[in-house]
Symmetry: C2
Subunit: 240 residues, 2 copies
């Protein structure tokens, strides 16, 4: 193998055009081994860059979730009831995390039946606005096991749907009239009390990943804590 051939082979390896098997044609054993090592370094570099990219994305997501939690906890408002506090939370979520749709459901003040949740409002990322369920409108209530929201409120577990069409738990009611292909939702629990459901959705399939579960559950923890305490403090401050 002459120098020109060696050079051409190295160039191909660097471009990732040669597999380890392709190098079997190199007759010189030592050269073949050296070139295989070069090919391995190229692969390692690619893997490292990919991991770095993934980790950066996750890191940014956690930082976003943290900022959102801090803005929420710092907000100087207390509320007489959970639905007012939930509306405020939804407004902050839509400002801090505007890249997906968000919806907040709460256990109604007089639930009647166990496992019911009622839509408080949602954020539509396409229209970039928060839609609050008015008191005039017919309330949107999910019964137990009704849609994915009903499933989450019944099972009190986070649900990740990479493709809503492939999940029988998803019903049109869960989409809230928005174009939804993937969805992740988590129960809101504070001090053992089930308070509602937080849901994020997106029109792209597979928008949410396994690692988003932890981030969403963290968000859920903070929001449940916020709802519980801002109402408690709101009541405490109102009483003389």
């Amino acid at each position: 193998m002459d120098t020109a051939q060696t050079v051409s082979l190295i160039e191909d390896i660097l471009k990732g055009n040669k597999t380890r098997k392709d190098l079997d044609v190199v007759e010189d054993k030592a050269l073949r081994a050296a070139l295989q090592k070069v090919s391995f370094v190229v692969l390692e570099k690619q893997i490292a860059y990919r991991s770095l990219n993934d980790l950066r994305i996750n890191y940014d997501k956690i930082i976003n979730a943290l900022s959102c939690a801090i803005v929420l906890l710092q907000s100087d408002k207390n509320f007489p009831g959970y639905s007012e506090a939930a509306r405020h939370s939804l407004e902050i979520i839509s400002l801090e995390l505007p890249f997906h749709n968000a919806a907040l459901y709460l256990v109604p003040e007089n639930p009647g039946e166990d496992g019911l949740v009622e839509l408080v409002g949602y954020y539509n990322r396409e229209e970039q606005r928060v839609i609050i369920t008015g008191d005039q409108e017919e309330p949107l209530i999910h019964g137990p096991e009704e849609g994915i929201i009903g499933w989450v409120s019944q099972h009190r577990e986070t649900a990740l749907l990479g493709d809503v069409e492939r999940d029988t738990r998803f019903l049109p009611i869960d989409g809230l009239g928005m174009q939804v292909s993937s969805l992740i939702c988590t129960p809101l629990v504070s001090r053992g009390k089930f308070m509602g459901v937080l849901s994020f959705s997106h029109h792209i399939k597979g928008f949410f990943h396994e690692h988003d579960i932890r981030i969403l559950e963290t968000m859920g923890e903070f929001i449940a804590y916020y709802l519980y305490h801002s109402v408690l403090v709101g009541c405490a401050e109102e009483s003389p």
Copy 2:
């Protein structure tokens, strides 16, 4: 240059023993260029791995801080006063973040003078125990601008000391009798109210980095929020 020499050169490049300049001896222009590219890929791989490592460490730190915040917010206890809530916070910090010393200072209930803070307790990582300042003992109070704790409570800014010996703001009183070489501390502020100082220290110089500032400030936000609200709720629950 024969094959054996080329192989030896490639092996050296892969080990990182050759700089770009060392390759000037290669007479064949095309081979030199190809080997320089290999050397560049080796460098890129090293940088990617180092960045990945740094990012993983930061990521783990944020996850740790988050877990600590969640454990704190989830804890089912409310307290009649800030110092009881602060002691509880310190116990959780020492369980969740046991790799450095931690200390918590609060504005005394009757501060008298502005800018005073009093030590509530500290965690000694070497002895792995929390030391709570008892009511019998002489309280350890920092006046304004007294030591780095006094500086933080006066300026209400986070301070990062890579080497306490090189910072005139640091006084022996800040070390709390522990071996301290580096330190980071942040003011605790909730709803504009200055409540105290949270401090982490370590016996190794340069243990804390620029990116720890954000993490510590986040911790400070949660702890200040927790102190403020657990006392408010504690009082609300006690009143009939």
